[in-house]
Amino acid sequence: MGGSGKTAHTGLIRNPWDLERMCAGSSSGSAASVAAGVYPYATGSDTGDSIRKPAAYCGIVGYKPTYGMISRYGLFPFASSLDHLGCLTRSVRDAAIVVDAMKGIDNKDMTTWDSSDIHLYESLNDNVKGKKLCYIKEICDISNYPDASSELKEHLANFNKTLELCKKMGMSVDEVSVDMKLLNALNSVYVVISCAEATSNMSNLTGIIFGPRSKGDNYVEMMKNYRTEGFSSLIKRRFIIGSYVLQAENKDRYFNNAQRVRRLLVDTWKDLFKKYDAVILPVGSGPAKYLDDSKNKDYTNSHILEEHLQIGNFGGFPSITIPNGFVSHLPVGVNITGNCYDDINVLNIAYALEGQMDYKNQLAKEVK
């Protein structure tokens, strides 16, 4: 669990393009091995950006379909209302094939819905003329990042090139504006809701009914020891936040307000989908970050670039990341997100765009 790939079960996960850099997470190993050509695809789950961010850092495709398209039965949950299943592949076509095989209504997961009339692979076509895209000024405009690094500048310039390409392909691209206050609240909303749900979801991990039992004089001791030994400090911090925001005296201020802002964000995006087929945005603030955090630099407002993919989880929207170029010889990605149940449309835009670029089926080449 976590977004760095540093806490993986098998050890540190390095980016196959640059071993000094991370893959992001939590599907760090999956992204690395698909990018390196070890597997043609990997399945994954995505609560905030866990499929789509690593895909961008590793130069591959990461697709999270509409909430409930794939059953969560059998998935170790993190935050049930945000958890999505999806896949990491090296092409949009492969993503369509994999999700076609994974999706469907499951009577063991009440949040699944009948998608039997949706055939992603069969529906793929690159006729996207007339499709309407929009991007968000507050996220994409370089003037919002006064102290931007050259990598961030390059990343956004590259994104603009992708927008030009879209226009050339016959799609319209509009700039829209969203209240900065809402965007600034993104991560707090995510932390509050995901930690609250995660704390509850993982309270079954006591080592008593399943898992290796810890020693202790009584069951409370056994549980305490198991949870103390078994969880990293990052996860423990999340548990504490989750419990705190749900406590009776804090619940309205934190948890209920987070739900309200989640609703506002989702409504804002749904309004966009009334007019546009999809929202197109750059992924992250540049290429993969360094594993050694001291080498990473934060810029004013760059957190919004890092966090906006969470909106796809808040709304259950279909969302796909594809590689759209290189910055500092490292891959960067672009994300396309559409309205719920509109997966075919989202995939087709990504498929057409991918066809106009050179990054389809690319394998990681270690650059350093």
Binding site: R72, Y73, G74, L75, F76, P77, A79, S80, S81, N107, K108, D109, M110, T111, A196, E197, T199, S200, S203, N204, L205, T206, I208, I209, F210, Y219, V220, M223, S243, L246, Q247, A248, K251, F255
Partner: protein
Amino acid sequence: MDGYKALIGLEMHCEISETNTKVFSGAENSYKETPNTNIRPLDMGFPGTLPVVNKRAVEMALKASMILNCTQPEYMYFERKNYYYPDMPKNYQITQETKPIPVGIYGSLTYEFKGAKKTVRINNIHLEEDAASLDHYSTFSTVDYNRAGVPLLELVTEPDLHSADEAVAFLETMRSIYQYAGISEANSQKGQIRCDVNVSIMDENLDESNPNNWGTKVEIKNVNSFSGVRDAINYEIERQVEAKQNGTYDDMAQQTRRWDEDTFTTKFMRSKVDAIDYRYFVEPNIPKYRISEEWKKKIKESIPKLANERKEIYMKEYGLSEYDSKVLVKDKDISDYYEEVIKLGGEPKGAANWLTSVILGYLNKNELSIKELYLTPTMLVDLMTMVKDGKISSKQSKEVLNKVLEEKKEPKKIVKSLGVTQISDDKTIRDIVVKVLDEHPDLIIEHRKGRNTFDFFVGQVMKATKGQANPSLTADIIREEIDRR
């Protein structure tokens, strides 16, 4: 009560026993003696398992909500109640809270107490999953997950009850409702009913409709029988009155106590300041779903006649006494049996007599339920028909019934094997009557003088026929033959 009155509120938990499966898992919903034999991964809280709502359980919960005159929600939601305890392997319970509203809110129920009608306001009724059952031994405890996930209805009343007996009368009415509505067997022996009781006392002269006048609320947890409820309330009232009298009442904190069945006392568990924060939030794995008006209508129409309505019918349409009607409706199985007898053509008053005067006594004596009774409604109707048709006398019918129950054979077969069959043939009886009268001309004279020799003649006919002569026919013929002489 020395100038005080008690305000009592109840939280009644009743398992829904009439669904095929548990409320969120596919495990069977049935009582199993062998521990941990009726469980699915979800009931054990395994990661990756998800709850799936049992529609039948929701239907039954809505039915109960309607019977209690509650408001039903437009959308069905569930909430998570988070707490660590070995009886809850997920370490949270899926339940409902008052916001968003549960299956029922703000209703009322009228029940009968000592001949008077009383009304209790219902704060809410909600659907949740039962916990596992724990057994505590001196050095260890055991957990049985069979019960984990059984659908459970929790009913919360306002503090509208004023005595232990009222509380028990209310609970008995609720039990009857659950049974009649086909929601639950409501059997406390199987642990299907459990109660928490709130007790406070206040000055008798003060207005109880103003909550400011209420005393300190004490909650008593885990009372598992109606007699326990009665004892716990009485004990707690006494304890609180004593505290008033010895001046310690004002120091008494709002608190939770538990009923100790061994010592017949309540024991302190925790005060309100140590109350558990359950950190509720809406269960994300169960999407909210709309309760349509059509569905509600269908459920409403499916509510069967409850004990009270049946009682009215028995009195008004069948002409039974209030007492007999009450006896018959007290147990739904008995009432069902009675109605089956009537459906098969049994005469209502006669059938009621059979049940109240003979059959119920037999069941009580042998500690049987009516479901275990060998005599089916069809057999009882056969027996009643034989009496009606004059094939056997009513006196004989009781003997036949005893043999039926003893030998577990149908009434018709018993009648045949005993040779008891009533003589209702006019000529056969008339021949015997004539012979008896011929033998006793002196007694005919005595009879005319006004002395009662009539019974003697009847007795002689019975003797000659081994009691098989139809008594009323015999009497008629004797009268006719005496008049003729």
